[in-house]
């Protein structure tokens, strides 16, 4: 067998690191994580940027995954995603009693690929194929935080409720918090009485391909002081893990 090529191994490690971090990384962080001298790490990440497999934020100088990655192989077909997710989404609705949504990045919004009704017998309308605002919904915020290449923050942030995030600074704070804790929430940012929580669904290599979310009357998802209740969050995280595993398994 041919000897592995060290520089390619290192480049792959950089990509995994950028994909797994959930936020842009500084050169120093990359070098430290890979235990490489800074100039070596810089050479690798610059080359990846030239190939469009990595990108650099012009204002902070930090690195993230590049647009070219989404064009590598084909991105997940949204209906394949729904097929893979369907059983887990049903189970999630059954255990949490919440409505379940699966969203993917779309031009200027989050496209709803799948929707399972809240299993309480109330009349509901199927929202599949609706496009909702990134900055105002948990699934949109989730994509902005974890799929920053595919989902870009909007220039204008329309206000839907008193709680909608409408400034770039506030959005940056929310996204930083979202990345830190690993999930996104909107406590009535799109519809005043509806709370939502979402987590990323990652495919192989750590790329976030979709946001899996649950929605329910505000007080059912958020406890006193606006804290998210732990049980539905745990169920959501485990369902996202199962969906990710099924994407991994059968591709």
């Amino acid at each position: 067998m041919a000897k592995p090529i060290q520089s390619i191994e290192r480049a792959a490690a950089v990509l995994r690191l950028l994909g797994g971090a959930g936020r842009p990384l500084a050169l120093a962080e990359l070098a430290a994580a890979l235990d490489l001298p800074r100039p070596t790490a810089h050479g690798i990440v610059r080359t990846l940027c030239d190939e469009d497999l990595a990108g650099q934020d012009p204002s902070t100088g930090r690195y993230h995954l590049g647009d070219g990655l989404t064009r590598l192989g084909s991105a997940w077909d949204r209906h394949d995603l729904r097929s893979r997710a369907m059983n887990w989404a049903d189970a999630l609705a059954a255990t949490t009693g919440c409505a379940v949504f699966l969203g993917v990045p779309e031009d200027r919004g989050v496209g709803l690929v799948h929707h399972v009704f809240r299993p309480d017998g109330t009349p509901q309308r199927l929202r599949t194929n609706a496009v909702q605002p990134l900055h105002a919904t948990a699934w949109g915020l989730c994509l902005l935080a974890f799929a920053p290449v595919a989902a870009r923050p909007p220039q204008e942030m329309e206000r839907y409720t008193r709680r909608t995030v409408t400034t770039a600074a506030a959005l940056a704070d929310v996204l930083a918090e979202t990345r830190r804790r690993g999930w996104a929430a909107d406590a009535g940012g799109y519809e005043p009485d509806v709370g939502r929580v979402a987590v990323p669904v990652r495919s192989g290599g750590g790329l976030t391909v979709a946001a899996l979310g649950i929605g329910a009357p505000l007080e059912e998802l958020f406890g006193p002081g606006g804290r998210v209740r732990p049980d539905p969050l745990a169920a959501l995280t485990s369902a996202a893990g199962e969906i990710a595993a099924s994407l991994e398994a059968e591709r």
């Binding site: 729904r82 189970a91 017998g121 199927l126």
Partner: protein
């Protein structure tokens, strides 16, 4: 797949013995599935038109998937209060009751080797006899002619049947016999839904008909006893030792129960490889005009609930053909992506009469056509036309059902693999002009078997409480301009006309 389940939780086990695989699923009191294990079995195609299964392989798979499902849920056989079975219907097994060895491979429902037998029954003018007693006009689907074929062609079969050494069963009969001891005291029983697909049972008395047994030359002593769908048939020995086997239904009737269609007029359609629409007709046996089949829906207790069944030969299998034979898509789900690249069918229609047209049209000489091709048509339009064919075929079956007296269908409950396709489900609602609803958890077949078994042992008190376990996961409301619906319906009809009379006799 498995979900959290409390230690010491009591569950009902269901075996879904299907055409391609055998699965075991475990359900809680609220109807939530907590584990599933699955194994495929081999399809034997000895000659074109023949499709066989190895009944021993299926039995072996049952003994594997049941413990596997328990392991996944972290449960013991002692957690299982009852076992129910749903099975591929009309597949026929004969075996030696002393050894438990089948005399031949099982002949499956897709196998058409009995076409000569069936043709003779029809040309002898016996259609009325069979339809009058069993509700079924002679057709190669049903088990009776298959049993006659086995008795006439397998060495030792008829002598063995006459001497009492060789017995017959459909798959649930075979599995119940094996589960409850096999040669060592196994119970030889069938249920009314499976028996109603043999062409041998009197649909009114729910007993074997001596007249039909004589007509098909089937010795009575080889037949299982006909029982209700929900009662303790016996107890497992070996796998699930001591657990009562307490429910059995044909798969489509199981889905009717799993979807809790317990009132007359309630209907479900299962969209898998083929499509199966069943409507509850209550205590009334519907007429069999238009090729629809009156059948037993279920028997819990003393009074049978009947159903009217319409089947569509090609639904999911047309999508598979589009994927595998035409290579237009790489997964079934991607047909929705492709179809959404265009706003409509562009004037193109696909009539999937691949082996003739069945209910309600009955043109065996029809073959598939694609019409309306122009240079404007591209793959996306074909994808739409493929999906629309499923919806229009459903419309034809539903129209025939509504011509039958009785309550019209005012909403349709759906299940099966194709319900993942939201574009299709919307189109079904649009052309039927009734709301279409999908329940949470798409395992209606297995759930129905579990319900039958759980009812028998008092795990659930009565069918009405099961309705509370049915939760709407999605609903598609009709949203189509009635004029457009009318003109598209007309176009579909004109497309179907063009499929007639294509096959020449003998081809």
């Amino acid at each position: 797949m498995s979900g959290a389940v409390a230690q010491g939780e009591r569950v009902v086990a269901a075996i879904d013995q299907g055409t391609t695989s055998t699965r075991c699923l475990l359900f809680t009191h609220s109807g939530r599935m907590v584990a599933v294990a699955q194994r495929e079995h081999r399809q034997h195609y000895p000659r074109p038109g023949l499709v066989e299964h190895d009944a021993l392989e299926i039995w072996r798979n049952v003994r594997r998937v049941v413990p596997a499902a328990l392991r996944r849920a972290g449960l013991e056989p002692s957690n299982v209060v009852a076992l129910g079975i749903a099975n591929q219907r009309e597949t026929t097994v004969v075996w030696n009751r002393h050894t438990g060895i089948p005399l031949a491979r099982a002949i499956t429902w897709q196998d058409t080797r009995t076409d000569a037998i069936v043709e003779r029954l029809v040309s002898d003018g016996q259609t009325g006899l069979y339809a009058g007693i069993s509700g079924l006009g002679p057709a190669t689907y049903f088990a009776g002619p298959r049993l006659q074929w086995l008795l006439d062609h397998v060495p030792g079969a008829r002598e063995g049947a006459l001497s009492g050494d060789v017995v017959f069963g459909t798959i649930e009969t075979w599995l119940i016999w094996q589960l409850t001891g096999g040669p060592d005291g196994g119970r030889h029983v069938t249920d009314v839904t499976n028996a109603s697909r043999t062409m041998l049972m009197d649909l009114r008395t729910l007993q074997w008909s001596d007249e039909l047994l004589t007509a098909l030359r089937v010795p009575r002593r080889m037949l299982p006893e006909i029982r209700s769908n929900s009662e303790v048939y016996g107890h497992c020995t070996g796998v699930l030792d001591g657990v009562p086997v307490a429910g059995a239904l044909g798969d489509q009737q199981a889905a009717l129960v799993g979807q809790t269609c317990f009132a007359p007029g309630e209907a479900k359609c299962t969209y898998g490889t083929g499509g199966f629409l069943l409507k509850n007709t209550g205590s009334r046996i519907a007429g069999s005009e238009d090729g629809l089949i009156p059948t037993v829906g279920y028997l819990f207790g003393d009074d049978p609930v009947y159903a009217l069944e319409g089947s569509i030969a090609m639904t999911g299998s047309l999508v598979q053909w589009f994927r595998d034979a035409l290579g237009m898509i790489s997964t079934a789900a991607q047909i929705e992506t492709l179809a959404m690249t265009v706003p409509d069918n562009g004037g193109c229609y696909v009539v999937p009469a691949f082996s003739g047209l069945y209910a309600p049209r009955w043109h065996p000489d029809a073959r598939g056509v694609i019409v309306g091709l122009t240079s404007y048509i591209h793959r996306g339009h074909l994808a739409r036309a493929v999906l629309e064919a499923t919806a229009w075929q459903t419309r034809e079956v539903l129209d025939a059902m509504n011509r039958d007296s009785g309550l019209p269908v005012t909403r349709l409950k759906v299940d099966g693999g194709m319900t993942a396709n939201h574009l299709l489900m919307q189109f079904v609602a649009d052309v039927l002009d009734v709301p279409v609803e999908r329940p949470l958890g798409s395992e209606a077949v297995s759930l129905g078997a579990a319900y039958a078994a759980g009812l028998a042992v008092g795990y659930w008190p009565d069918p009405e409480v099961l309705r509370r376990n049915w939760h709407r996961a999605a609903a598609w409301e009709p949203d189509m301009d009635p004029r457009l619906r009318r003109s598209e319906h007309e176009n579909w009809g004109r497309a179907v006309d063009r499929s007639f009379g294509w096959a020449r006799p003998g081809s």
